[in-house]
């Protein structure tokens, strides 16, 4: 009797947190999934709505605008993550040294990450302004033709802003990974004759890889959900050129007043993100399994 109680104790303590989790997380989620099978305008209670089965999903599948938006999102996410990874890791490799003033420099580098996205959006909108924007005024002074930043090149401009804001994230994680590398292995490689580049290529990058993969996945998941900065900068335009999924979902709900379709779209995004998360999870699991196997092998030997 006593032992049963003892065994239950952890669960008792666990209960309140679990209840809150279920209410806060699963209730809206289930609500959304439920809603995605209904024809639902914002003026209706969910009870008054009509059940339409998979119709929302199917119509989305055949909707060229949704496909376009999905394409923009993919283009955006893949470009920003690739460039940010290259820049972030590169900067980390460059700044991983103990020079006086380096800590100040590192702090400066991560400032963009701390600014609220709405502010970032407004700032870049000003920088990109066709006539009074910083960039075009600069181009004027050096006598180069102006660029239509948020017009014809809207997607590129949005990508640049995102790179500015999120490269620091990859930078600090890479830097942390670099600084926790086994120093003596690097020293050994210097004695073995490795040049700076060879140290980076043969020792540093391979040893940072686990952190880099997780960082990349985190950033990818985040890039698929980006909203505020683009909303403020272009509102998705011109045309659909920067209408990423999150933006389209919000427009479908508010402008087109189709909550059911918006919910279905969210679910598509959710499925995509879950696939990414699953990939990340599998990766860590594989790592753990490998580590375990190694430990067993060592114990068997000793």
């Amino acid at each position: 009797m006593k032992s049963t109680l003892n065994r239950l104790t952890p669960y008792v303590f666990f209960m309140p947190a679990a209840v809150i989790m279920i209410i806060a997380l699963f209730y809206p989620l289930l609500y959304m999934i439920w809603g995605s099978f209904r024809r639902w305008s914002p003026s209706q209670q969910i009870g008054e709505t009509e059940f339409v089965g998979l119709r929302n999903y199917i119509s989305l599948w055949n909707d060229p605008n949704f496909a376009e938006s999905m394409g923009v999102t993919l283009k955006f996410a893949v470009s920003v993550v690739t460039i940010e990874m290259l820049l972030g890791v590169g900067l980390a490799l460059l700044l991983d040294r103990n020079i006086r003033g380096m800590s100040v420099l590192r702090t400066l580098f991560i400032l963009p990450m701390m600014i609220a996205p709405v502010v970032v959006g407004l700032m870049w909108r000003y920088i990109y302004h066709p006539t009074i924007g910083t960039f075009n005024r600069f181009l004027d002074t050096i006598g180069v033709e102006r660029v239509d930043w948020l017009g014809q090149n809207a997607l590129m401009s949005v990508i640049i802003a995102d790179i500015w804001q999120w490269t620091p994230f990859i930078f600090i994680l890479s830097l942390a990974a670099l600084q926790s590398l086994p120093q003596s292995a690097l020293e050994a490689s210097r004695i073995d004759g490795a040049t700076g580049w060879q140290q980076i290529w043969h020792i540093k990058i391979p040893l940072m890889m686990p952190v880099l993969i997780v960082t990349c996945l985190l950033r990818l998941i985040d890039a698929f959900k980006v909203l505020e900065v683009i909303l403020v900068m272009t509102e998705g335009g011109p045309g659909l050129s920067t209408e990423i999924l999150a933006l389209r979902i919000s427009r479908t709900a508010t402008e087109f007043r189709e909550l059911g379709v918006a919910a279905a779209m969210s679910n598509y995004l959710l499925i995509l993100l879950m696939l990414l998360t699953a990939a990340m999870f599998t990766y860590t699991k594989l790592q753990e399994a490998r580590a375990n196997r190694l430990r067993m092998a060592v114990e068997a030997d000793d």
Binding site: P182, S184, A185, E187, A188, S189, R190, I191, D192, G193, A194, T195, Q198, H202, I203, P206, L207, M209, A291, L294, A297, V298, D301, D302
Partner: protein, 359 residues
Amino acid sequence: MPEIVFDGVEKSYGSVRVLPPLDLTLHDGEFTVLVGPSGCGKSTTLRILAGLETLSGGEIYFDGKPISALEPKERDIAMVFQDYALYPHMNIARNMSFALRLAKTPKAEIDAKVQRVADMLNIGHLLARKPAELSGGQRQRVAMGRALVRDAGTFLFDEPLSNLDAKLRGKMRTELAEMRDSIEKNMVYVTHDQVEAMTLGDRIVVMNEGVVQQQGTPEELFKEPRNLFVAGFIGSPSMNFMEGALVDIGGEMHVQGAGFDLPLDATTRTRLDTATDRNVTVGIRPSSFTTDTSGATVELRVIVAEYLGAQSVLVTKLGKTELLVETQSTAPFKSGVTQSFGVNTDEIMLFDRSTGLRL
């Protein structure tokens, strides 16, 4: 295989001075051991030699050529680190061949070299494993192998055995001693363990607080230590020290102190240039005590007898001073008993009390 000369080499970290100007010559083809207590600057010396640390002053010469401006890879050295420093993501074969692959050695030659060294070190069956899949002793061998695969002129070892358990350490020590004789290279070996130093070194350099105390063969250091530090550091169990004074008793020189009065033999006497009444520190090795009480004797109270097998070490007291006595285990000693021990007076060493120098 260069001759290596440290000429006034200094090292400071900020305001902390680790090496005062250090002069040291490491002869060609010799196995030199740097020994000293932890924190005395042995690793720093080795790392400066390897080029992993910069000098704060002085210069190092390889066969007369200054090398302090050279990168580690330009110094033709191989090094075994205390924590082995294997590349965690490469298997053993790739760990061992890393330097050769960087040097663009032909693959067949690499394979042959790796195989030969691996067989020599009994790690041939581990080549496909990663470092994490090895035990401590195996990793140690791999670290050794990675250095040996390269045909470097100088081999540096930084306490390579200190992370092993006692039994394995003994075994590896023997293997290293064997290897030392078969490889004709400059080897510089750092350790805090004087037993390792005595077993392995052709020549031993005793360091304390960055200063070279004495260098010489193991026998020289044991028999003719130059000062108190070397006398106390070399030898196990370590030398006993007592405060005493030199007294002339009827034309014969004695050293006297609380509870002892020992005549000095002729050789010791001739070493002493100055007159009597001088305060000295008396050093007697635990092995200089005997159970033969026909000569000079001291009365010692046995506190504990540490049985080590054939030998026993007695912890005894003379007044308040603790003295170690090494004896055969066949003679039984009871704790708490006061007893006479003979002293081989020709093995007594005298040190100046203020400078610590051997008299």
